[in-house]
Amino acid sequence: MIKLQNVCKNFGKTTVLDDISLEIVQGTCSVLSGVSGSGKSTLLSILGAIMKPSSGLVEVDGLNIVSLNDFYLSKYRGDSIGFVTQAFHLFDELDVRDNVVVPLLLSDFSQKEIQQKVDTAMGIASIEHKAQSKVTTLSGGEKQRCMIARALVNNPKIILCDEPTANLDKENSLKFIQIIKELKESGKTIMIATHDPLISELEWIDNIINITEGKIE
């Protein structure tokens, strides 16, 4: 269960999120919709613990992540969160396999376990055939699937996607949607910030949260 209570985020005098309160049930897929600059990505960043709110409470399974120090926040990000972002945030000079393994670098898993996890994640994201390909040689859709594999390799409970289809053509967007659907079915909690109608009009989406000027409508 994810619970946000009176969350505000200010950048100087600009209020980006204004008194946001919502609850997300585990295993659901929610879409954050709204125009650019409405605060969708900021909300995802707060949920992903890569940004702290100016005020308010963010609880994940009863744990207030706002009050955590760097040690526990990093553990939370590593164990519970998988990020898929609009820009392809990958190590461009490395191959797909070496990018996917990054979240496991500090783990205590054996070499064999790590390889199994990487193979599984690449399988789910349908990118295993490009495991040895350098990121710079991949298409946009393949880069996206590489990010998904990396987001899944630690088997996180929550997947946060920020404009995941913004740089994809329709065919790749549909592939992405299919993967997300399967993840939802496997019990992952998914939050997607997007204004792509392809996603927001899907019938299996559980919640659509409209954000306008930092407020939930």
């Binding site: 990093s74 990000r77 990958l90 070496d98």
Partner: protein, 392 residues
């Protein structure tokens, strides 16, 4: 505990992003090589000077009048030999010989080969010097610079000096000073004192200075005090004074060099700091990805520490090896001239390999610690900031 994947990832970061690291590695190695070369050269010179000075007399006494050196009275020799603690007082003559073809000077030093302590000192440099053979005809021992000139002008085995009386004095080359003593003996010509007098146009009663040996090193100061009070118109130069003179000379040159080096090191470190502070997008992105995937601030610092430590240590090792080759195989062109100069004869000194562990540690500390600091401080600043902006 670090797993194999971590090591592999670190190696990949270094190898796959080698273009990014290459210039840092190149400039760093160059700077370490310059610093190491300077320290290798000064260390070798110091060793050579120490070796040469070990064969010098404990004191040299010269007569002074109105601030100028003049001939030292011969009777002072007997007087000094009477002083308790003095092992021997030996007259010496020396003077400059102008060699017209190259417009340079040789320093002719005449010594008394029958004096035991003088002989002992000389034998510290020449193990198997046969005095009887040496004195069997007009012989001389010459420095490497003089030998090079003789070779260049094709003097085979002997050289004709022209004393002031317009005669010709043929002197045979008996031996050459060892290369290790070249710092001091480069332009030196050592011969029997009588022959030296003849060539320099000095009478039998004239001596330039007196070399004094003291048997017990603990009595050096006492003997010096006795010498000082014996005459007020003389100067006493101790072995230590000569050593300090050379040390000051080389330290001064080394100091100027070191100042220039530090200036260039600081410039490089500032550039490096600037590079990491005005973070290139890819660096910030790397750190943001690591943070996003669960790396703590300390994990990011450790990874960057390991990455840059490998670069710094590689630069250090590469730099030291380059310096070793430059100094001990190529004989330090340019730097040698800065240290030795071209005052008289060109000094073609050959530096003997001298590796001092404390010196290597010093180079490591001077270079690696500032390097790591200028890289890690900006990395830490990025790591503590929110990754949000980069992830957009």
């Amino acid at each position: 505990m670090l797993n194999k994947e971590y090591i592999n990832f670190l190696a990949l970061l270094l190898f796959k992003y080698r273009a990014k690291h290459f210039w840092i590695l190149f400039i760093s190695s160059l700077l370490v090589a310059i610093l190491s070369s300077f320290l290798f050269v000064s260390s070798s010179i110091k060793k050579d000077v120490d070796l040469t000075l070990s064969s010098q007399s404990d004191f040299i006494v010269q007569k002074y009048r109105a601030g100028k050196v003049e001939d030292t009275p011969l009777e002072w020799v007997d007087e000094f030999n009477e002083i308790n603690g003095v092992e021997s007082a030996t007259p010496r003559v020396y003077g400059m010989h102008f060699y017209e073809p190259s417009e340079s000077y040789f320093m002719i030093v005449g010594i008394d080969f029958f004096d035991k302590s003088t002989l002992k000192s000389l034998q510290k440099v020449f193990d198997n010097l046969d005095v009887a053979d040496f004195l069997s005809k007009d012989n001389m021992i010459i420095g490497s610079g003089v030998q090079e000139l003789f070779d260049y002008y094709e003097y085979k085995g002997n050289y004709n000096f022209r004393p002031p009386d317009r005669s010709i004095k043929k002197v045979f080359i008996y031996d050459e000073f060892p290369k290790q003593t070249q710092i001091i003996t480069n332009d030196m010509v050592v011969m029997d004192i009588h022959l030296a007098r003849e060539i320099l146009g000095l009478s039998e009663n004239q001596v330039t200075d007196i070399a004094i040996e003291v048997a017990n090193p603990l009595e050096l100061q006492t003997v010096k005090t006795k010498l000082v009070v014996s005459h007020f118109n003389m100067r006493i130069i101790s072995k230590e004074d000569i050593s300090k003179l050379y040390e000051n000379l080389f330290n001064y040159k080394g100091g100027v060099f070191l100042a220039l080096y530090i200036l260039s090191l600081i410039t490089f470190l500032l550039i490096l700091y600037q590079r990491y502070t005005t973070v290139i997008y890819s660096d910030a992105k790397e750190i943001a990805i690591l943070r996003m995937t669960g790396f703590k601030i300390s994990d990011v610092i450790y990874l960057k520490l390991a990455e840059n430590f490998i670069i710094a240590v590689s630069s250090y090792m590469l730099g030291v090896i380059m310096a070793y080759i430059y100094v001990y195989i190529f004989n330090a062109p340019l730097i040698k001239e800065i240290f030795l100069g071209f005052n008289n004869l060109k000094n073609s000194v050959v530096f003997a390999p001298t590796i001092d562990v404390s010196m290597l540690v010093l180079i490591f500390l001077i270079f690696v610690i500032p390097f790591m600091l200028v890289v890690l401080v900006p990395v830490w600043r990025i790591a503590i900031s929110e990754s949000y902006e980069v992830m957009r």
